[in-house]
C-alpha cells in the first residue's frame, strides 16, 4: 500500500471515518454520557436542571409502579422465552428434514419476523377481541367461554406473550436451523451404526452440538425482550389496571408525559443493569452446558 504515513494519509483515513464516527459520537456516545449525568438531576425541560444527587435512584427503590413494571417485564420474558425456544426448536427440527414444500413453509414461518410490531399487535388485538374476535368465537363453537384477553387484567399479559411468540418463533427457528446445518452428517451415521435410537441421537448429538445456537437464542431473546415496548403500547398501553405496564413504557411516560427526564434516565440505567446482570450470569452458566465442537 502507498501513503502509509504523513498528514495526507491521516487526512484520508479521517475522511473515511468521519461520516460514521461523527454521527455515532453525536447521537449515541454523547447522549449515553449525558444520560449518566441526567440520572442525577431533576429536569422538566421548562426550568433549569437541578442536581439532586442520588435522589432519583433512591426514589426508584420506593416506586411501586416501577417495581410492578419490572415484575411485568420479567413475567413477559418468562412466558415468552420458553414458547419461542421450544417452538422454534421444534419447527427447526421438523424443517431440517428434507421434505417437499419445506422452502415454502420456511418462508411462511419467517414472514411475521419482518412484519412490524404495530401490525402484529393490531392484528392480534382483533383476533383476541373478547366479544367479536375470531379466537373467542371459535372457542364458543366448541362450547368454551373464551377469556377477556387484553381487556382482562389476568389475561392481558398472556395475550401480549402469545402475539409476541407468534411473531418471533420464525426468528429462533432460523437460528436453530443454522445450528442444525452445521452438525456433520457423519456423527449421526456413526451413532446409527452403534445402534443409537432416535431419542438417543437427539439427546447425545443434536442437543449438545446445538447448544451454541441455544445459547445465542437465550441471550439475544433476553436482551431484546426485557426492552419490550411496541406491542405493549399498541395492545394495552400498560393496562388494564396497570397489569401490563413494562419498564421501557415507564421510561417513555416519565420522560415524555410527566416531564421527569432525570427520573426516566435513572430508570433506563437500572434496566441496563438488569440486562448486564442477565448477560453476565448467562456467560458464566455457559461453561456448564454449551459445547463448542
Amino acid at each position: 500500500m502507498v501513503g502509509q504515513r504523513g498528514w495526507r494519509f491521516r487526512l484520508i483515513v479521517a475522511l473515511f471515518l468521519a461520516p460514521s464516527l461523527i454521527p455515532l459520537i453525536m447521537f449515541l456516545i454523547v447522549p449515553m454520557l449525558a444520560s449518566v449525568g441526567l440520572s442525577f438531576a431533576s429536569w422538566d425541560l421548562l426550568t433549569h436542571p437541578r442536581w439532586v444527587g442520588t435522589a432519583n435512584y433512591r426514589g426508584l427503590v420506593h416506586d411501586g409502579e416501577f417495581h410492578a413494571a419490572l415484575l411485568h417485564t420479567l413475567y413477559f420474558v418468562a412466558g415468552y422465552l420458553p414458547l419461542v425456544f421450544c417452538g422454534g426448536l421444534l419447527l427447526a427440527l421438523a424443517l431440517h428434514q428434507r421434505l417437499k414444500g419445506v422452502a415454502w413453509l420456511r418462508t411462511l414461518y419467517f414472514l411475521p419476523v419482518v412484519t412490524s410490531w404495530v401490525v402484529v399487535a393490531l392484528v392480534w388485538k382483533w383476533l383476541l377481541n373478547p366479544q367479536y374476535g375470531i379466537v373467542n368465537r371459535l372457542l364458543g363453537f366448541v362450547g368454551v367461554q373464551g377469556p377477556g384477553w387484553w381487556l382482562d387484567p389476568h389475561w392481558a399479559m398472556p395475550s401480549i406473550i402469545l402475539a409476541s411468540a407468534w411473531k418471533d418463533i420464525g426468528f429462533t427457528m432460523v437460528i436453530f436451523l443454522a445450528g442444525l446445518q452445521a452438525i456433520p452428517e457423519e456423527y449421526y451415521e456413526a451413532a446409527s451404526l452403534d445402534g443409537a435410537g432416535r431419542w438417543s441421537r437427539f439427546r447425545n448429538i443434536t442437543f449438545p452440538l446445538l447448544s451454541p445456537a441455544s445459547f445465542f437464542v437465550v441471550v439475544i431473546s433476553l436482551i431484546n425482550n426485557v426492552q419490550v415496548f411496541d406491542q405493549v403500547w399498541v395492545m394495552t398501553q400498560g393496562g388494564p389496571a396497570g397489569s401490563t405496564s413494562v419498564v421501557v413504557q415507564q421510561i417513555v411516560q416519565n420522560a415524555f408525559s410527566f416531564g421527569r427526564m432525570g427520573y426516566a434516565a435513572a430508570m433506563s440505567w437500572v434496566l441496563f443493569g438488569v440486562i448486564l446482570v442477565i448477560t453476565v450470569v448467562q456467560l458464566r452458566l455457559q461453561k456448564r452446558w454449551v459445547v463448542y465442537a
Binding site: P31, L111, W126, V234
Partner: protein, 269 residues
C-alpha cells in the same frame, strides 16, 4: 421423527402463521356489520374493497407511506455508505489507533436504545429538530453494526487485490469504489435490506420525536388509526394491510439476504 407427525406439526404451524394474515385481509374487505356477523366468514360476502379508499380518505395513509419510504431509503443509503467507508478504513488501511477506535464502535453496540432516548430527545430539542425529518433520520445515519459486518467482508479479500491499482497510481477512494465495493455486493445487500426493514418497522423513536400527523411514519400513523376508530376493525385492518404490503414484497425478493442478516446479527424488527 416419523414423517406423518412431521407433516402434522409443520401444517399446524403453517396454518397458525398464515391465518392471522388471512384474517387481516379478510376483515379489511368486509362491510361494517359483516365484521361482527355470526358465523364469521373467511371469504367476505359481499366484498367491500371501498374500505381501502375510505381509510385512505379519512387518514393520510399515503403521507405515512411516503414518510416511511423517505426515511427508510435515506437512512438505509446513508447507513450503508457511512458503514462501508469506515469498514474500508478499519479493514484495508493501517493507521495508529485503529484497534482502539474499532473497540469504541463495538462498544456502542452494547448500549440499549432506551438508555440514550431521553438525552437524544433533549439534544434534538436544542438543535430544533423535534418534530422534523432531520430529527427522525439523523440518529440512524451511521451503524456500528454495519461497520462491523462490512469490515468482516472487506478483510476476507486478499491483500494483493489493490496493490496493482496502487502501482498504477490509483488512490484509496478509487480502490474503495471501483475494486473493493463491487466485490462485497452480497454483504452490502444483506446489511442494506436489514437496515431498511429496521427503519420501516421502527416505532419507539418516531413515536417520541414526531407529533404532527403529516410527519408520521406508517407504524405510528397506523397505531393512531386504532385510537380514533377503535370499533371500525375493517378500516384498521385495511390500514395494517397497506402497511404490510411493501415489506412483504421486499421480503419475497430478498428473502435469502434477510434470513442471513437476521441469523448473523440477532437484530430483530
Amino acid at each position: 421423527m416419523p414423517r406423518a407427525l412431521l407433516y402434522v406439526i409443520l401444517l399446524i404451524g403453517g396454518l397458525a402463521m398464515l391465518f392471522p394474515f388471512a384474517w387481516m385481509v379478510s376483515t379489511s374487505l368486509k362491510p361494517d356489520l359483516a365484521v361482527f356477523q355470526t358465523p364469521p366468514q373467511l371469504i367476505p360476502k359481499p366484498f367491500q374493497p371501498s374500505n381501502y379508499s375510505t381509510v385512505v380518505h379519512i387518514f393520510p395513509v399515503w403521507r405515512f407511506l411516503l414518510n416511511s419510504a423517505l426515511v427508510a431509503v435515506i437512512s438505509t443509503t446513508l447507513q450503508v455508505g457511512t458503514s462501508a467507508m469506515a469498514a474500508y478504513a478499519f479493514a484495508r488501511m493501517k493507521f495508529r489507533g485503529s484497534g482502539t477506535l474499532f473497540l469504541l464502535y463495538l462498544g456502542t453496540l452494547m448500549v440499549p436504545f432506551q438508555v440514550t432516548i431521553v438525552p437524544l430527545f433533549i439534544e434534538m430539542k436544542y438543535l430544533h429538530f423535534v418534530n422534523s425529518y432531520p430529527g427522525l433520520i439523523l440518529p440512524s445515519i451511521a451503524s456500528a453494526y454495519g461497520t462491523f459486518l462490512l469490515r468482516q467482508a472487506f478483510m476476507s479479500l486478499p491483500a494483493e487485490l489493490e496493490e496493482a491499482a496502487f502501482v498504477d497510481g490509483a488512490g484509496h477512494w478509487t480502490v474503495f469504489t471501483r475494486i473493493v465495493l463491487p466485490l462485497v455486493r452480497p454483504s452490502l445487500a444483506t446489511f442494506g435490506v436489514l437496515s431498511f426493514i429496521a427503519s420501516w418497522n421502527s416505532f419507539l423513536w418516531p413515536l417520541v420525536i414526531i407529533s404532527s400527523q403529516k410527519l408520521m411514519t406508517l407504524p405510528v400513523g397506523i397505531a393512531n388509526l386504532q385510537g380514533e376508530h377503535l370499533t371500525a376493525w375493517n378500516l384498521v385492518m385495511a390500514g395494517t394491510t397497506i402497511s404490510v404490503i411493501p415489506i412483504v414484497i421486499v421480503y419475497l425478493f430478498a428473502q435469502k439476504h434477510i434470513v442471513r442478516g437476521f441469523v448473523l446479527s440477532g437484530v430483530k424488527g
